[in-house]
Assembly symmetry: C2
């Protein structure tokens, strides 16, 4: 424990590796490996883990075993397993598999929403409202993802007002938290700071999460800019899983080990053992066959083999 541990502030790391990470990896990962992955993440201190999504297997074969995974994962006190659901039917499946922490998604950009989810944002909000009402009734917790919150591959830059308008709709439906996604990794620290300040003022820090991709190398800087503004929940992916499937080693989500290293170095404590995260990334590389893109992993590996 560092000498100034008493001055460290709490922060939460939301692990999306088993879902957003593996979904974008080329390797099809068997459910036994996913089980071990989640177990390793829990052992490292991760307490929020998105294990998969209840989409139709035809669309995302990587997620076809989410139901099986959800049923088999041993529950532990204080550990929350999340799953993404595309609609009410997916929500029902998730609940039947024992999931009570639910993610839903829509885009800030209308064009991206139509291209990615095959419906309008209003249609997405109708589906989300149905899931949300049922979840709140049954005492489940739900989180809304707003994709393309900083930029869209079709529409370009996205105005903060547009993002806030959708966030308002999700909050009106009692979203426990909202995760703002830099889906294509175009956000800048300046843009992140400007949006985060407005979001925290409007919704309070405990409702705001950042979901940053490291596409252009600014993922960690953007995380730091968000922390500086008061954001205390950040999504990340063990090993930085989720890079472009056609470019091994290309950056996807910010890596969990990189985020933990950043948090410690910025005066935060998320209760995570970085060395166990690194071990998990090594296991992912050696046993599961994915290519870690996280920088801290590269450092730790070079050190070990030197």
């Amino acid at each position: 424990m560092p000498a100034d541990a008493a001055r460290l502030q709490p922060a939460r790391v939301f692990e999306v590796g088993p879902r957003d990470g593996l979904q974008n990896e080329r390797v099809l990962v068997p459910v036994e490996h996913k089980l071990e992955l989640v177990e390793r993440l829990v052992a490292a201190g991760l307490h929020d883990i998105e294990i998969g999504s209840f989409v139709h297997p035809k669309w995302v074969p990587q997620m076809a075993d989410t139901e099986q995974l959800a049923r088999r994962i041993p529950r532990r006190p204080g550990v929350r397993y999340w799953a993404l659901v595309p609609n009410y039917k997916g929500y029902e499946r998730a609940v039947r598999a024992g999931i009570d922490h639910i993610g839903v998604v829509l885009s800030a950009s209308e064009t991206h929403n139509r291209n990615n989810l095959n419906r309008s944002r209003e249609q997405s909000l109708e589906q989300i409202a149905r899931v949300a009402r049922s979840a709140v009734d049954r005492g489940h917790t739900w989180r809304g993802y707003i994709s393309t919150a900083f930029g869209c591959p079709f529409e370009g830059a996205i105005a903060p007002e547009q993002v806030i308008e959708i966030a308002d709709r999700l909050r009106a439906l009692d979203a426990a938290e909202i995760s703002f996604g830099d889906t294509i990794g175009v956000a800048t620290p300046r843009q992140v700071a400007a949006l985060c300040r407005r979001l925290i003022e409007r919704f309070g820090a405990r409702r705001i999460a950042m979901h940053l991709h490291d596409t252009r190398g600014l993922g960690l800087v953007n995380a730091y800019a968000a922390l500086e503004c008061g954001v205390r929940i950040i999504d990340s992916s063990v090993a930085g899983l989720g890079g472009c499937p056609y470019a091994p080693g290309a950056a996807g989500n910010i890596g969990t080990e990189d985020l933990v290293n950043l948090l410690t170095g910025s005066g935060f404590d998320a209760g995570i053992e970085i060395e166990r995260v690194v071990d998990t990334s090594r296991w992912l590389r050696d046993r599961v066959g994915v290519t870690p893109s996280s920088k801290y992993f590269r450092y730790a590996s070079a050190r070990c083999s030197a």
Copy 2:
């Protein structure tokens, strides 16, 4: 030009690729390639370029051609070519080769100074004083590097007081600027912010440069933390040259393209065309045979070949 260009603040990028970068690469780069490299950097908008060092070729074979390089580089208005000198003899050689911007180096850590420079810090300061007095007399500009300003491989953490004490000595000798080096890449944003605030208060922003290595992946975050504190000069290396020579692709200096991308995204303008820096990194990879480690280059390359 972005819409809000008028609000961009000026910042200076100090290019160390031809010196700190190439010095740590495995490939021995011929002088013709170095000449082309410097020309390309100038064309990209880099105005401070450290081209090499006047150390004995026995110690650093990569730098054996610095004299030849210095003589052959075409001078251009507004472009400053710097060279590192280890002692007065090196300074004299530099001056004879037409260099009038001089770098000198010592470590914050006594053990590192002895291991790296083979003398005590006091002995280093004596050499530096001799160079400094002569440089100031002749109207040359000199910059002091303080290595291991954030941590030492032998002594561990370095107290800010220790760094400031040495900086005081360099300022008393009329250093135009002082570059604080995170030689082994252990600095944290918290530590950078704490030191930078004190340095700016003491010496003023125009005297302070940060020289950050990306060993553990926090190089860019540390640069951002320094900028947030008011630092306006940051060292970087095209392509991120200067990684560990035994681990190709491992991170060395922060990459110039990454720094430029960060600056633009943080509200700064250094007058550098990022695409020309990327082109230079591509040329370094394809023609010179080094492995770029900069993140923005990886992004730009993946995009081009997709």
